[in-house]
């Protein structure tokens, strides 16, 4: 008897966590509504993907991903201005993924190939700074709106974290 309660506790906790890991699929009607809302984003994503599929140079990919970040940043800002922090939060998840998996990872890939004090390094740092600038602008907007929309506070925190990742991605590897 004594072990039943803790065992039940553990099982329920595990079940809850497992349930949480299952991708949350909306009912079809809601999926159709979300598709309507996100169609422009989907089109940009596909166009961006085809562009990336054409690029062999990591710096070019940084540029492509930066353009995508700009687009997502506009979406996030629009959501925030419309008082929709939930959508802003969702969009920021995508933006963070692109900033980390697109911009930062390609900056690191480029960094490995570009020697210091070369024109290419200058280009690398310029592209990093351009991406950082846009992330910072968005961060400031979100920080301002988070005073009234508390749900945005963790979004700002995550954006700061990803900005640091991008900032460090072009650093020379430590000896």
């Amino acid at each position: 008897m004594r072990w039943r309660v803790p065992l039940t506790t553990v099982l329920v906790m595990l079940a809850s966590l497992a349930g949480a890991q299952v991708p949350h699929r909306l009912p079809l009607a809601d999926q159709a509504r979300v598709l309507r809302e996100n169609m422009a984003l989907l089109q940009v994503t596909v166009a961006g993907s085809l562009e990336l599929a054409d690029q062999d140079n990591a710096l070019d990919r940084v540029d492509s991903c930066h353009r995508l970040i700009k687009f997502w940043a506009r979406e996030i800002e629009a959501a925030v201005r419309q008082g929709n922090p939930s959508r802003a939060s969702e969009m920021s998840t995508y933006l963070n993924k692109i900033a980390d998996g697109g911009v930062a990872s390609n900056l690191r890939a480029a960094r490995k190939l570009i020697p210091p004090s070369t024109p290419d390094e200058r280009l690398l740092l310029q592209r990093r700074d351009a991406a950082l600038h846009d992330l910072e602008v968005l961060e400031n907007v979100l920080a301002e709106f988070s005073r009234n929309q508390r749900e945005l506070r963790p979004v700002v925190g995550r954006l700061q974290a990803v900005r640091r990742i991008v900032a460090e991605a072009a650093d020379l590897p430590k000896p």
């Binding site: 309660v5 329920v12 993907s49 993924k97 692109i98 963790p154």
Partner: protein
């Protein structure tokens, strides 16, 4: 007394059977019922001979446990028992609520899990990120094929519920992904060495997608047919383009300098 009643009485009488006179009288006259009684007697004897496993150890252990438990229970007053069950129920309820909270928190809070509300967009972004770090043409071709599959799956899934404009847009995205800037174009660049192994499964998938889209076109209202026909045509065109490339390889393989064309491998 008939046979049916006699048999019923025989079955209902256990142990050393003290059968009523009427049954005994019937048995004397009826060979069939006599055989039935003999079989019952055999069963009775056989049952007694079935070996019974020694349960003394398990029985002793059970009895010890059984006898020990009341001692514990006897220490508790009925009030204490009631409180214990209340505690168990309350704990269970709290655990369930905690579980629901965790689930809800993970799903509704501004965390990455929230992004799954638009599963298609999330998958397409995952493909995009894979392309952002894909270093080889082969990998890009694989990812583009996956993108086409994602679009195909969701377009068919939303065939009846999506707005027609959105369905049209999805079908155009599918066409783009399979077109010259996408899968068909990149498939041309796959090194001959890997071409067959990489592209044949993709061709199979394109055939499957085209068939599924044609089938869907036969089931949707007329104003939605065009989107699926467009997708099916794009899938067939991509399939044909890739097949042509594979056939060129076969021809090259058969030519005298084929080995050189295919990078030294047949």
């Amino acid at each position: 007394m008939n046979c049916r009643l006699a048999c019923q009485r025989l079955l209902a009488t256990s142990g050393p059977r003290m059968l009523p006179d009427s049954v005994q009288h019937h048995l004397v006259q009826c060979e069939q019922c006599q055989r039935f009684k003999e079989q019952l007697d055999q069963i009775d004897k056989a049952v007694r001979r079935i070996p019974i496993p020694d349960s003394s150890i398990a029985k002793t252990a059970f009895l010890e446990r059984f006898l020990a438990e009341p001692t514990l229970v006897s220490r508790q007053t009925p009030r204490r028992m009631g409180w214990n069950w209340t505690l168990v129920t309350a704990t269970s309820a709290a655990v369930v609520l905690l579980g629901l909270f965790i689930t809800g928190w993970l799903r509704r809070g501004p965390t990455p899990a929230e992004a799954t509300s638009d599963v298609m967009l999330e998958q397409m972004i995952a493909h995009q990120l894979a392309l952002a770090s894909a270093d080889s043409v082969n990998r890009r071709v694989e990812i583009l094929a996956q993108m086409a599959e994602t679009l195909d799956e969701y377009t068919r899934q939303l065939a009846l519920v999506a707005e027609i404009n959105d369905l049209e847009s999805l079908s155009k995205l599918f066409v783009d992904v399979l077109g010259n800037k996408g899968l068909s174009g990149k498939a041309e660049l796959v090194p001959a060495l890997n071409r067959k192994a990489l592209l044949e499964p993709i061709v199979t998938n394109l055939v499957r997608m085209a068939a599924a889209q044609e089938e869907m076109a036969g089931h949707v209202p007329p104003n939605r047919i065009m989107a699926f026909r467009r997708m099916a045509t794009a899938a067939r065109e991509a399939r044909d383009a890739i097949r042509r490339k594979l056939q060129e390889d076969d021809v090259a393989r058969c030519s005298p300098d084929g080995l050189a064309v295919l990078g030294g491998k047949s």
